[in-house]
Every structure is written in structure tokens, then in C-alpha cells.
Symmetry: C2
Amino acid sequence: MIEVSTPITVTLGPHRQYPIHFRPLGEVPSLMAAAGLRRGRCLIVTDDHVGPLYADRLEQALLGAGWSPRRYTVPAGESTKSLPHLQKIYDVALSWGIDRRTPVLALGGGVVGDLAGFAAATLLRGLPLVQLPTSLIAQVDSAIGGKTGINHVVGKNLIGAFHQPALVCADPETLATLPPREWTSGLAEAVKHAFIADADLLAYVEQHMPAILERDPSVTHPLIYRAAAIKAAVVGEDEREAGRRAILNFGHTFGHAIERVAGYGVFTHGEAVALGMRAALYLSRCLHPDLPLERADRLLRQIPVQGRLADLPIPSLMQAMHADKKVDGRTLRFVVLRRPGEAYVTADVHRDDVEAAWLFARGELD
Amino acid sequence: MIEVSTPITVTLGPHRQYPIHFRPLGEVPSLMAAAGLRRGRCLIVTDDHVGPLYADRLEQALLGAGWSPRRYTVPAGESTKSLPHLQKIYDVALSWGIDRRTPVLALGGGVVGDLAGFAAATLLRGLPLVQLPTSLIAQVDSAIGGKTGINHVVGKNLIGAFHQPALVCADPETLATLPPREWTSGLAEAVKHAFIADADLLAYVEQHMPAILERDPSVTHPLIYRAAAIKAAVVGEDEREAGRRAILNFGHTFGHAIERVAGYGVFTHGEAVALGMRAALYLSRCLHPDLPLERADRLLRQIPVQGRLADLPIPSLMQAMHADKKVDGRTLRFVVLRRPGEAYVTADVHRDDVEAAWLFARGELD
């Protein structure tokens, strides 16, 4: 049994912590009060997919508790994470009238969380932020840890800030309306957390994969809770990504290259990470011959991926890896597993092994 | 004698501190090395007034020390603190190619420091920032403490972030080319620091005012050093402006109203603060009858101010004070002096006294 009822706490310092709740949106006002937010105006940022489904429910609860909410809706999709959309949020917030204690509520998936989070980070040099993730990837990953930002034509997430939320409230019910491909995408990140930090959770996923793919809440909720707790623990150890937090990039050096070469949107981020983890597992086995590659890979192959990795030329993928922003002083670094549940970062890999890892992820090696 | 030779340290926490040096620009590369910055690319942001005078000197020193600097020049003036200019810095930096350890060097006055500082705060979620203030107001105030940001049509500095520099290096020689009105403006902020925290420095200013106005370096340097040290101490106690840092706003509730009503640029910020401090002193004496108002006011009247406060209607000024972003939950707050060198924040003032303070600052009351 995985314990799922108590809130998770992200602890960043002796007096800096915030809770992650898995509660209905209707309870958000009381959670905001408990987090010390002062009743008054609050700005809800949502998108045109999530807003029509859940914003009314949230607004009614806020109005009932004495808040004065205002909703601002952005178009759904990655292209919304841009300077023009950020500027519109600035315009709406500042012409409405806010002060330094006016909270911004990010109701949506990763795009809304990153965009509204960055607006909150930079309006009046920082407003309280309430993350209300409604996608799986946001609930287990992007809403936790304070990374906010927007894209630039040169690359994704190149403009941003670390801005920790005052609280995170993930309503499990909102996942019911998630499109299948977004579920898959989030599942990849949840499984990634198991790979890097929790062999027991990995065994749980292995055991329950069919029910997870069918989105049976009684099976998925424990997975989501534990995956979120892993993220919370890792960012608590390394708020600004100076060290350990890099293990969260397991599969990402490969995955970002896939997204870059295929063109953003061909693979979802999670699909690219799922494929990237297959390559990263192969690379890990090159360094640690005892790693149970077949077993781990069998699990990853169950995550449905649309799009064919074999269509992408390996030389292009190799080159794209070097363009990734995790390039640090010209050295390419990889997250590898010492064993399932234990990850570390290394630059000490052979180019031949990286190329072979690509072949493996394409299913062209055993 | 005021000690001026050792660097000032801004201490924000047990492992978070940075130095403020008063050294020639040619020494910047060795100070950067001492601050742990890794040699490689660095981006210099300057403006078209300061750049032609000092950027070559800085670049030569950086090249000589093995750095690869790139210069980006913005137009001088407050209108440069805008989203379009910020976006150009993003474009230049990201298309050039930077990584998370690429420093941004802000060579100029408050505008360059705020704009380049905000770019550094938000590129790759935070690059190392080197503040190289060349104006008096930047050397004693704006380059210290980590406030960065840009303006919005609704008001000044409404978009920004706290981003502490890795180091500050103020070259005293750059002040020689400062236009007279910018000198005056900076002087007002330096005197403000004496009023709020250092009665000895206030006596020093009183004693040496003629030489200070003539910009005699042997007299002004100790003032600048001590004024910077006061700013460093206050922000060290309250990095995010949660409490004590608000005393730095002495004269600013009045001053911001003057700037707003007159239209930005009619009075310099320092001129508005000089007038605002006269009003704030009057208000302080209403609460503390022993305050030596005449003596303090005599000092402030020696700071030259262009523009006539008497041209601004008092009802407009009263209204503008309420629009200031320091309005916090609808309560207007003022920084007042208990005695020279000791300031605190209060909301407990009478409207009649505030109106009388305006009359006093206009010279229409004794």
C-alpha cells in the first residue's frame, strides 16, 4: 500500500516550505487561507481547453470564500509560452490593479503553469503563486519545484525564473478529461521518477501497467502521489539546479534532441522522454553491465508513442544533443542509472555508446 | 575620517554574500575571477552615453584577461527600460550562444543596471550579474540590493525580479563625466541614506556641502562609500523588502507623486526625492516635535532642483500618492524619522499633516 492521504511538503530551507495537496478544486480557497494568503483580488490564468471545464468551479469556490477572482484565458498549446502572451498577462494584471499580495492561480497544464508562473515571478518583482495543475505531467512534475518560463525562437524555456509556489493543489478529478496522448506523456515523467529514485515504485508500475494505461484511479493515484513526492524531495535538496536536481533530466538529453530534430509537436515531450529513457538505459548498461536493461526496457515499451524514431537521422540527433542548453562549458552530460532507483550525472561516456543507444531506442539493437 | 579602502560586503545569508568594490574598471577581470566567475564569453550591456566613454577600457581589460566580451548598446534614457529593449537583449544573448555561467555586465547608470539586471535574472533562469555603476545614483543605491526590472505603461518598475549581483564594481573616475543634474539626483539618494541611518554622515554632509556640490573627489568619495555601505547593510537585513528595507523609501511616497503628476522626466528621480524628503521631514516633525526640522531642511534646500513644485496642484499630488505601488492593502504608508539617522515606517498620519507637508516642501509654510 502506498500512502496517499497526507499532503506532500516541499522543504527548501528552515522557514521555506510549501504543501502539495491532492484535493478537489473546491477546497482551494481554504488551502489558500491555510497558506497565509490574504483574501482580496486574485488572478486566475487558464487556457481555452481547461478553463471551460474547471474555471467556473474554482471561481464559485473563491467567490463563496470572499475572494474577488478575475479570469484570463490564453490559447491552449506550447506556442502560448511566448513573450506576447506574457505581455498580455502583464497588461491585464497591471491595468486591473494588483498589489504585492495578489495571488496568481495557474489553472491548467505545464504551459499555463510555466507562463502564469513566470508572470507571477516578475509582476511587482514577485506575486504569490498557486499552482493548480490539471494534467498528469504538471501534477507529477512541472507544477512542483518553481521552474517557470517561456520559450524563445532559439529554444524552449530559455527565458524564465525560479519562483516557488505558495501551494500546489492537484485535483485528481481533472485528469479524467485529459486526452490520451497527454496521459501517456505524463506517464513517462512519472515512470522517470520511479527509475531515478524509487525501485519500489518501479515494481509497482511494472505490476500494474495495464490498469495504469486504462487510467484506473485506484491504481494511478498512488503512482501520481509517489511520483510527485519524488520530485518534491529532489527539488528540496537542490532548489536552483546546482547539482542533484539534474537527475530529473533522465532521458532528457536524448529526448530534447528528438523534439528538436522532429520539430516541436511531432512527438509530445513525454513521448520523447520515453524514447530518450530507452536510450539512456542502454547507455547506463554500458557503464553498469549488471543493469537489468531488458526488464526496464520492456516496461518503457508499454508506454504508447506516436511517431517513429527511426525516421530521424542519427547524425542529426547527435548534433542536436550538443545544442541542448544542458551543454555546460561544451561538455555534454548524461543522467544514467547505477541501478533501478539510483541515478547520477556523468560526462564520461563514449560517443560510440551514445550512437548505439540511439540504435537501441529505435529497436535496431538488442 | 571615513574609512574607504576596503570593499563593502553585502551579506544576505550564511553562504550568500557579494562585494562592492570602488576600483578602476581595468580591475574588473581580476575581481570577476576572485568572485568565482568562469572565464569565457560575457555580455556587456551599456548605453550610448556611457559606452563610448568607458566600454573600450572595460573590453580591453577583459580581452587581456582571456575573456570573450560582446558589447550591446541601448539608447540612454528611462524609455529604454521597456519590454521591447529587453527582448532585444534576449535575442542578442540567445542567438550569440550563452550558457548558465555566462556573466552579464551592466555598465551604466540605473537604467542599464535595471534592464541588464532583469535580463540576467531571466535568461536561462538566471545568469551571473556584474554591476558596474557609472552614475552616482547607481553607485550609492540602484546597483546594490538586487532590484531589477522594467517599466510598464501603468507605472515604473512594475515588472522585475530580485537578482543579486555576483559583484559590484563602482569606478569613482566615471563620475567625472556625469552631467550636473545627474550628480544632483544621486546626491539626494546619498543624503537620504544619511538621514535614515547615519547621523554622523549627515553631519559630514552638512559640514562639506559646498565641496560636495563642487564634486571634490576627496570629499565626495567618503560620502559615496558610506552611503553605499548603508544601502548594503539595509538590504542585507531584508533582501526581499519584507520590512526594514522600506526605510529606503524615505521621501519616496511624496517623490513618486511628484514624478507622476509632473510627468516623468520633468523632475529627475533624485530631485523629486529631495523635495519629497522635505515633505517627509515636515511629516516626521508632526509626529516627533523635537526633530530639528529647520536644520535638516536647510541642508536639503542646498541640493539644486530644477522645476517648480508650486506648479503642481496639491489635490493631484494627494491623489497620486494613493496610486503608488507601495499602497499595500489600501493603506498609504510613510517613512518618517524619529530623529536624524533613525527611520521607520508608519501608516498612522493625519491627512491634514500630509497636506501641510506638501505646503512646507513648496516653501509656503515655515
